[in-house]
Amino acid sequence: MASILAVDDSASMRQMVSFTLKGAGYDVTEAKDGQEALQIAKSNSYNLVITDINMPNMDGITLTKELRGLPAYKFTPILTLTTESSADKKMAGKQAGATGWIVKPFNPDQLLATVKKVLG
């Protein structure tokens, strides 16, 4: 089954994302900020990365840029979690190399639908 790296500094969001995706059979690893995610990503491989944007230590935009710089993540789908209000954030994510975004707030069904869109 596909493996997903879920990155968010909010424990409740992480739990919710992870619980939902695990329930659908995905293999989920959690990271609490960009720095931790990058480290984990380097020693593992994932079919999809879902990352929050506003995080301490390393934000989601920087994480996306860093990941795209790694050969193993050149084509890996990366989704950013973003709020509706920040259209410029969606674009910043895209410019950094993100595949797409998931708009907050979202419910588990919406999350699964979006993940299916990139992983099938």
Binding site: G100, K104, P105
Partner: protein
């Protein structure tokens, strides 16, 4: 979703604390960008989480505060005292809203609306009306029952953002029946082909009643990375399919190429998985307090069992007939068991320990608000924030601390004018310090304010009849008067503190935790309040005493001294109770055997042992038959295991397996004061020949 609520609440309350802290530390006019970022991030997380978990009221409110923070972050809006104060109020509102969502109750709608109104006013209320316009334009698409012709031409780099055209075509297939035609005309010769680029484009006919916005949504992420055209097909214009059959074979061929592109990445994946290590977990875990308490309880039992074994082991090894190598090993093992048990106990107790910063962190906000209200300038210094103490003790010490801080700001630190007049710096200093001392934690709260006006306190106490007209008191005794109920010397009552209730409650609360509070002060220089608290409520340092056949535990903190009763110092008052003249004062004599209904009293108190104790500011002497060992005991609640008993605060199990009751010293003194415990009853044991033995043992 409910299973995540607890985590959401915990992290949101933490987030609010962070916001509050950073806001208080914000240097208005020269704000640190990282601080604003941190505040913004907390607000942003709360907004995102509350929206996701269905707490829409918080999400809506936080959105407004976040917008303000976002503008500050982008440098569009200056950081003013006004906006910081408003954001602090917003933190309060968010905290209230969270509490209502968590524990139930009603929201203070007026307050929420008021603060939100102020935020919007500050923002210039131009942010609200933009969203609806976009929605309207999306809906202009007509309902088309014949289908759509979609021309999709990815730019060369589209694959590099991880977007796969095949997925999009699959997604379209879910909206209705599709026919796909690939254009491979841009495909270069194989030798020139860069597998990371995209060369294909598609024309897709989608049949059915799909809406245009559903189709747009499929390409939402790649809007800027492709040329996209979506046109309705009118019923008659079915001209395109003529070429369809010709192109079909190439479609399959090119689709494979498109899928081939991501392969370099995919191929590397399995290789990496093999050597993958488990990612490092975060450094802390959240565990229910009930689980921890269960472990603590079990470890308590373990300590008792270990003590029992130790005692039995000691007895056996003392017996010559058993002396062999097995015996040695047993003794060794028991010694090791004791060490390990003690270590386990200490480790487990530490799980419940939290740094005092949890209490100290409430103070900056309090000082900020109060100094504003009182027009005073106060600099807060906190030291020893990492000092740990038990969670329960921590929760109960919060309110007394808050009261002491209020008191220090209201009565202690003077106004800037008064301070300048007294030759001091304009800004007063309030210092909080915490450190460990023995088995206790000491919290000091000192200010460099006016100190305690001893004369005024004494006059007030005389006026209230607490102190006799001609009675002279030591400085310490005068300072101690401020903890007396009904004594407040503030000349004007304020809503901050000072109705004379409070300091006595502070002392009572601290005492109920087995701690003490004292104050030292030099008039004009300031005051220092020293709170001493046990590190934990689960263990007690006790003095074991024998009363009749029973063993009791007297908390070591309440013992002043132990003496042998001299009958010429004994006075009976009105045949009711005994008083003992201890140097300059008279203290009541409490006969433990009578209090607990054990009828083995001796006729005379002469030469018997008396433990002088203090509880709630009163001294008393407790008559016991013998002083035994001093040891740490694990406290077992009487309420949970049996029922509340006056004069007892709990029980413990001793090494030999017997139960010893723990005396509640303040409670016993209270009982004495209330009823005047019966005078020594008629001798039940007239030939009481024990007194000599006790005198010997005590000697």
């Amino acid at each position: 979703m409910q299973q995540f609520h607890q985590t959401f609440f915990e992290e949101s309350f933490e987030g609010l604390d962070i916001m509050e802290n950073e806001l208080l530390n914000l240097d208005v006019g020269n704000a640190d960008n990282e601080s604003i970022n941190t505040i913004f991030r907390s607000a942003h997380s709360i907004k995102g989480g509350s929206g996701t978990f269905g707490f829409t009221a918080i999400a809506e409110f936080t959105h407004v505060a976040e917008t303000l923070l976002d503008e500050m972050r982008d440098g569009i809006r200056p950081v003013t005292q006004e906006s910081v104060d408003l954001l602090l109020k917003s933190v309060d509102v968010m905290r209230d809203m969270l509490t209502v969502y968590k524990d139930g109750g009603d929201m203070d709608a007026d307050n929420i609306a008021e603060v939100q109104g102020k935020l919007e006013k500050l923002l210039g209320s131009d942010s609200a009306n933009t969203a609806s316009a976009q929605d309207a334009s999306a809906n202009t698409a007509n309902e088309n029952s014949d289908g759509w012709l979609i021309t999709f031409r990815p730019h060369t780099e589209m694959l590099r953002t991880g977007n796969d055209p095949v997925r999009m075509i699959y997604a379209l297939a879910e909206l209705g029946e599709i026919e796909t035609k690939a254009d491979i005309s841009e495909l270069p010769a194989f030798t020139d082909l860069n597998p990371e680029d995209s060369f294909l484009s598609w024309e897709i006919t989608l049949k059915g009643d799909a809406k245009k916005e559903d189709i747009s949504e499929v390409f939402d992420w790649v809007e800027d990375e492709c040329d996209l055209d979506i046109q309705p097909i009118s019923g008659a214009s079915e001209t395109a399919p003529s070429t369809d059959t010709v192109e079909t074979p190439t479609t399959t061929a090119t689709t494979t190429t498109a899928q081939a592109a991501p392969t370099p990445a995919a191929a590397q994946a399995p290789a990496n998985t093999a050597s993958a290590k488990k990612p490092t977990e975060s450094a802390s875990i959240r565990v229910g307090i009930d689980k921890v308490d269960e472990i603590i309880n079990l470890v308590g039992e373990l300590v008792i069992t270990q003590a029992m074994l130790g005692q039995v082991g000691g007895e056996i090894s003392g017996d010559e007939s058993h002396n062999n190598s097995h015996m040695e090993k047993l003794v060794e093992g028991l010694a090791q068991l004791e060490r390990n048990t003690r270590e386990i106990q200490e480790s487990v107790m530490r799980i419940r320990m939290l740094p005092i910063s949890f209490v100290f962190s409430r103070v900056p906000r309090l000082v900020h608000d109060l100094s504003g209200k009182l027009n005073k300038k106060v600099n807060l210094v906190t030291l020893g924030e990492g000092t740990e103490l038990d969670k329960t003790v921590m929760e109960k010490i919060g309110d007394p601390m808050v009261h002491l801080v209020r008191n220090a700001l209201d009565h202690g630190i003077e106004t800037p004018e008064e301070r300048l007049a007294a030759g001091k710096e304009e800004t007063g200093t309030l210092t909080l310090n915490a450190y460990h001392k023995g088995g206790n934690i000491v919290i000091e709260l000192s200010d460099d304010g006016a100190g305690i006006n001893k004369e005024r306190v004494l006059n007030k106490a005389r006026a209230n009849g607490l102190v006799g007209e001609n009675e002279t008191l030591s400085d310490d005794a005068i300072n101690d008067l401020i903890f007396h109920p009904g004594l407040s010397t503030a000349e004007t009552l304020s809503d901050v503190s000072g109705r004379g209730v409070g300091m006595d409650v502070v002392r009572k609360n601290i005492k109920s935790l087995g701690g003490s509070v004292r104050v030292d002060s030099n008039e004009g220089e300031g005051a220092i309040f020293t709170i001493q608290l046990p590190l934990t409520l689960a263990i007690l340092d006790g003095q074991l005493v024998r009363v009749g056949e029973e063993t009791f535990v007297v908390p070591l903190v309440s013992i002043i001294e132990s003496i042998q009763v001299k009958s010429n110092n004994l006075n009976g008052i009105a045949g009711k109770a005994d008083l003992y003249k201890l140097r300059d004062e008279y203290i009541p004599v409490i006969r433990a055997d009578n209090v607990f209904g054990m009828n083995n009293s001796f006729e005379s108190l002469n030469d018997r042992l008396m433990v002088v104790v203090e509880g709630d500011g009163h001294k008393a002497g407790i008559i016991v038959d013998d002083l035994l060992a001093q040891q740490q005991v694990v406290i077992k609640s009487l309420e949970t295991n049996y029922q509340r008993v006056d004069g007892l605060s709990g029980a413990t199990i001793l090494g030999d397996g017997t139960v010893a009751l723990i005396l509640d010293i303040p409670g016993m003194i209270e009982m004495f004061k209330e009823k005047g415990v019966p005078v020594p009853p008629a001798p039940v044991n007239p030939d009481g020949n024990g007194s000599d033995d006790i005198a010997d043992e005590a000697a």
